[in-house]
Each structure stands twice: as structure tokens, then as C-alpha cells.
């Protein structure tokens, strides 16, 4: 049983067959010396790009199918029926079902707030939504392992619940632009009740939408990963971001905050960093800060909330990510 799981994991998730196939094509087909740097980079690039696109398409399709049961209007109704920590936890969990990019966070923020959902619940959802989604979990399992993937989900959810709760506790309603509360509440949806054919069509549309949106990030991310993998000296990386440098998590997080990229584009960078001896916590902190916070999403959020709330939101998430990074680094022996 254990062997079967390992085999399935290696072939389906890690796609060992693909790695072997790429090696075979490069070595036998093009006569490249596979121990050379160029061949190593080319192999990393081709293998990762194909692997990420296969996993991405399959995963987005399955997740979108599930997500079709939970349109934002229904999510809002479900969350409106609960209170306290339960509502925050549910918001964080429902956030994982949404492969929303930060571009849809403004309509959701206004839609949730104008309908009377507390800020704490809305922020739990907004933090969890870009940070943790099922596709990124499976990809993490594929690139690292299941322990890291599941730990990532758990700490991501905790950050979402905690961050949202803290924002609620600070009573910042006055820091939301007035027009948000006056926006009308529209309820033109189907409550997730659509036919299977419509769900399949929706899932297929989502795959093409998301692939269109992220393909460039994936290529750039894998390109950077391939460069790190074979061209940047290990000693340089170790000296700047190495495990024993106390500032590594801090630097990785702050560098990631203004960056805008999809989690699928950042994973290959994290992968290459870890292979170069960067702590898992440092790599994850970088990934989390790139995906959870970005300059474009901050500029968008600024239109609906006032500066103090925006600063508090950024502050809580950044500090949370840094703490998570150090936790993961100090628990590395349990994870790998």
C-alpha cells in the first residue's frame, strides 16, 4: 500500500516519467551532456513548464467544478449566517475554494461589506483566497512533499483566521470608504444550482481563463528558477538567504510584498531556492508574500479602504508571514 502510494505520488504528482523523458530527449535526441549546466537549465525549464501546465489544467478544472457550487453570492449568504470565530474559519475555508486573483478582491470586498458582513470575516476571506487554494497545495506536494503542503494549508488558514479576527477586534469600520456601505446588494445568481453541463462548461472556461492569465508568470517563474538552479553560485545564495542567516526570512518576505505574481509562477522559484540550500520557511515566506500581497492589489484596495486600515492589513499579513517563515525554518527537520 505504502509502495503503491509512493509510486502514484512519484509518477502522477512529481511526474518522474516526464523528467526521465525530457532527459532522454535531451541526451539521446540532442546529444547534450546532462551533467552540463546548460542541459541542467534546459531540463529544469522544459520539465517544470510541462509539469506545471498539466497539473494546473487538471487542478483548475476539478476545483472550478467544486467552486461552481459556491458563487460569491452564496458564499456571502453562508457567511452571513454565522458569527465569531466560526465565521472567520468558514471564510478562510471558503477562500481556499476560490482561485481568485487579487483583481476580483475589490468587487468581493464591496459586495461582502455592503451586505453587512463584518470586516473580520471579509478579511479572513481576502487573506485566504489568494494564499491558499487547492491547486497550490497539490503543486506544493508535487514539488516538495505532502508534509510541507499540508503544513502550508494549516498555517495559511491560521493566518487568515487570525488576521481577520484581529482586524475585526480593532473596530476599523470607519476606515472603510463610505460609498462601500451604500453600495446596493444585488442577488442575481443561481445559488449554485446549475446543471452538470453548465458546471463542466464553467470549469473548462476557468481553465482557459486562468491559463491565459498565468502562463507568462509561469514561464518567467520557471525561467528564474532554472537560472537559480544552475547559474547562481550556491555560496552566494547561502550567504544571502541561507538557513543560518537570521535575516533570510525577513529579506525574502519584504522582497516579495510588492511583487505581483501568481502562486504558480512563484513555486518554481521556491523550488530552485530550496535545492540551493535556502530554508523551506524562507522559500515559503517569499511565496506567501508574493501571492498574498502585491502593489497592484494594494492600489486597488486603497480605493475602498483608508490608509490606516490598508497599513494594518499589510502589517498583519507581513508579520504573520515572517513568523510562519521562521517557524518552518526551525521545524525543517520535521518537514523534509
Amino acid at each position: 500500500m505504502g509502495e503503491l502510494f509512493t509510486w502514484l505520488n512519484d509518477q502522477l504528482l512529481r511526474m518522474q516519467w516526464l523528467s526521465d523523458f525530457v532527459t532522454w530527449v535531451l541526451a539521446d535526441g540532442f546529444g547534450l551532456d546532462m551533467t552540463s549546466r546548460v542541459a541542467g537549465s534546459v531540463h529544469f525549464f522544459i520539465y517544470d513548464v510541462i509539469k506545471i501546465f498539466i497539473l494546473l489544467s487538471v487542478l483548475i478544472f476539478s476545483i472550478s467544478y467544486v467552486q461552481s457550487y459556491f458563487p460569491p453570492e452564496r458564499t456571502r449568504r453562508i457567511l452571513g449566517q454565522r458569527q465569531g470565530l466560526g465565521a472567520n474559519t468558514l471564510a478562510a475555508l471558503l477562500g481556499t475554494l476560490t482561485p481568485f486573483c487579487s483583481c476580483s478582491s475589490i468587487p468581493l470586498f464591496i459586495g461582502f461589506t455592503s451586505a453587512g458582513l463584518p470586516l473580520s470575516v471579509t478579511f479572513s476571506f481576502l487573506i485566504s483566497s489568494p494564499l491558499v487554494d487547492l491547486a497550490s497545495v497539490i503543486l506544493l506536494a508535487s514539488i516538495f512533499n505532502w508534509t510541507i503542503a499540508l503544513s502550508y494549508v494549516v498555517v495559511g488558514l491560521i493566518l487568515a483566521v487570525f488576521g481577520g479576527t484581529l482586524i475585526g477586534y480593532l473596530r476599523l469600520e470607519k476606515q472603510v470608504e463610505g460609498f462601500v456601505f451604500q453600495s446596493p446588494v444585488s442577488d442575481h445568481d443561481n445559488d449554485g444550482q446549475i446543471s452538470r453541463r453548465e458546471r463542466l462548461a464553467y470549469a473548462r472556461d476557468q481553465v482557459s481563463d486562468i491559463v491565459h492569465r498565468v502562463w507568462l508568470y509561469v514561464l518567467v517563474g520557471v525561467g528564474i528558477g532554472a537560472a537559480i538552479h544552475n547559474w547562481i553560485p550556491e555560496s552566494f545564495i547561502a550567504a544571502t538567504l541561507g538557513q543560518d542567516r537570521w535575516w533570510s526570512v525577513f529579506v525574502a518576505t519584504i522582497a516579495g510584498v510588492p511583487m505581483y505574481a501568481d502562486i504558480f509562477g512563484t513555486l518554481p522559484i521556491a523550488e530552485a531556492l530550496v535545492q540551493k540550500g535556502v530554508g523551506v520557511g524562507t522559500a515559503l515566506a517569499f511565496m506567501m508574500s508574493v501571492t498574498a500581497l502585491s502593489l497592484p492589489s494594494m492600489i486597488m484596495l486603497k480605493r475602498v479602504v483608508k490608509l490606516p486600515l490598508l497599513a494594518i492589513f499589510i502589517g498583519i499579513v507581513t508579520v504573520g508571514i515572517i513568523v510562519i517563515g521562521y517557524l518552518f525554518n526551525s521545524a525543517t527537520h520535521l518537514l523534509i
Partner: protein, 78 residues
Amino acid sequence: MHIKILGSGCQKCLALADNARAAAKAAGIDVEIEKVTDVVAIAGYGVMSTPGLVIDEKVVSSGRVLTAAEVEALLTRV
């Protein structure tokens, strides 16, 4: 009649705009189609999932590309 298509310029919004135009033509109704792309303006209609369809300032659908026949039914009902 005044039709607004809410959506930040995605494929689906274009498809909905095309269907709306076809529907108006089929119904023989004179319409003016306007695209609303600003996210805050879209959210101002209470719409969370795009594309949204607004007929004479009233939101009639969101999160779905209606077929031309569906839009036509909405146009003639109003």
C-alpha cells in the same frame, strides 16, 4: 434602451456584449450598449461576479454569459 455590460474587458464580457447586440437586433429594439470596466463602478452595482448585464440601470444578470435568446427575453419583458 440603455444596456451596460459590466466586466473588466474579459472574453466573456465581449461575448455578452455581442449577444446583447444580437438580441436587440432580433427584438427590433433600439439600444445603446455601454461597457463598464472600472471595478469600483462594477461593484457599485452590487455585482461580484462578472460579466454583469444592466438594462436601464437595473442589474438583470451576473456571473454568466447569457445567450442572445435570454437577453431578448429580458429586453422584451421590461
